[in-house]
């Protein structure tokens, strides 16, 4: 196999773009919390970038993409990047060095547990967060990544379509966020006192950087610099813009004013929803997916508020529901006119694809939900998940890290 310099350059650049998304997520989340918790919230993302970068080269990549075992998990043959060198791997990316593909996938593994941190913001003990993240990446993310993307994975063999991680990244993190919010319980004063974002501008900046990095996430998933990457780039931008417009309009109708933070949240919902579909749908499909993301994710937040679940930064509504809608919509709007190696969806004569997508959605919801619950309970045996009440009142920046965010 011959290495293509253009493909390699694009995938390495995409890996760098996706890397930027994790600190961008930190700023997106950081602006939404109270100022006493901003550093700890940003630290969640920054720390995970470091933690999973090491976990991935030691055993994560091998579990997710290593030689298949029972269609459920990768083997340990590639542990410590053993046998993962510069020769391309025909199963994953035949025109780039294997390590380029590995590092691109590393950035996906990094951001996924970071997404969950929004659910338990402002109340989780840092040591518990460290243990949870490591266990979650190993026992939840790595198996699901193997099922969907690994050569021989059972959902891969079934024909499930997930171009850039709607199931692997967003459903898994969104559902886990819901479970984490339920297990940890509500923040002190939840529902009694108003909790406002301390810096909306930080959140908008974070959303813009996420949007920028997402071009690497989706267009990079073509693992080649060509027509498919171009299509993924265009539909990513289209769906994101449509979702932001839709969310803003829905919030305008509901709250009588067009929300700026709502437009940013809508953009992220659109990015999430187009992720699984970005290599399979055309521009019209992207518009519908963006529209659905704006409506469904907004409604999910209203439901979450009504049932008084303190998913602090609405990870479940945006990533869980957005990812679910995107995965289902892939089964509706996929067309081989965009990707001849994939399959048509419902509206292009293949209703069976919807059932396959539902199987993938159900598997991801089930494994992520149960796995997260078990991991949280195990961690709680060794380290309390929550900080004490006085620590929570003081804020996690001081109580967990001994540093204030602002000297103002």
């Amino acid at each position: 196999m011959k290495i293509d310099s253009g493909d390699t350059a694009w995938v390495l650049a995409s890996a760098a773009l996706v890397m930027l998304m994790t600190p961008a997520l930190g700023f997106f989340y950081g602006g939404l919390v109270r100022r006493k918790n901003v550093l700890s919230t940003i630290m969640h993302s920054f720390f995970i970038l470091c933690l999973i970068s090491v976990q991935w080269v030691l055993w994560g990549y091998s579990l997710a993409f290593g030689p298949d075992k029972f269609h459920l998990i990768g083997g340990l043959e590639w542990i410590g990047l053993n046998n993962v060198g510069f020769t391309p791997n025909a199963d994953y990316a035949p025109t780039i060095p294997h390590q380029a593909y590995m590092v691109f996938q590393m950035m996906f593994a990094v951001i996924t547990p970071a997404l969950i941190s929004g659910a338990f913001a402002e109340r989780q003990r840092f040591k518990a967060f460290v243990l949870f993240s490591l266990l979650w990446a190993t026992f939840v993310y790595d198996p699901i990544a193997h099922w969907v993307w690994g050569a021989g994975g059972w959902l891969h063999n079934l024909g499930a379509l997930d171009f850039a991680g709607g199931t692997v990244v967003h459903i898994s993190s969104g559902v886990s966020a819901l479970v984490a919010a339920l297990v940890l319980g509500r923040r002190l004063g939840f529902g009694k006192e108003k909790v406002e974002p301390h810096d909306a501008t930080m959140t908008i900046l974070g959303a813009c950087l996420l949007w920028f990095g997402w071009f690497g996430f989706n267009a990079g998933s073509a693992v080649a610099a060509g027509t498919l990457a171009t299509s993924a780039f265009v539909v990513t931008n289209t769906a994101t813009a449509m979702a932001a417009l839709t969310w803003m309009t829905v919030s305008w109708w509901h709250k009588r004013q067009p929300s700026v933070l709502g437009a940013a949240a809508g953009a992220v919902a659109g990015l999430v929803a187009i992720t699984p579909a970005s290599g399979f749908v055309n521009v019209m499909g992207a518009i519908v997916i963006g529209f659905g993301a704006g409506v469904f994710c907004y409604l999910a937040i209203q439901l979450r508020e009504r049932i008084h679940v303190d998913d602090a930064l609405d990870v479940w509504a945006v990533h869980g529901i957005g990812g679910t809608w995107g995965a289902l919509a892939t089964g509706l709007f996929a067309t081989i006119a965009i990707n001849s190696t994939a399959a048509n969806g419902f509206f292009y004569g293949n209703p069976k694809q919807v059932l396959i997508q539902l199987a993938a959605i159900g598997a991801a919801w089930g494994w992520a939900g149960v796995g997260t619950y078990v991991i949280l309970k195990v961690v709680n045996l060794f380290v309390p998940l929550r900080v004490q009440e006085d620590e929570e009142l003081l804020g996690l920046d001081i109580s967990q890290h001994g540093e204030p965010a602002y000297a103002l």
Binding site: H198, T249, W253, I287, D390, E391, I398
Partner: protein, 48 residues
């Protein structure tokens, strides 16, 4: 025009029509930051 295009056009029409008809209720009272930010509590000592 295929079904996907029809649904996309309807989606856009709903959003654009919304901007034409939605009322806008301007906030005329200045927002007091201390009413919004809730960490104005007295700090308490932190246990080790």
């Amino acid at each position: 025009m295929d079904v996907t295009t029809v649904i996309a056009v309807i989606s856009c029409a709903i959003v654009f029509y919304g901007w034409l008809v939605l009322p806008h209720s301007a906030t005329v009272k200045p927002v007091v930051v201390s009413d919004l930010v809730s960490e104005e509590r007295k700090p308490v000592s932190v246990s080790a």
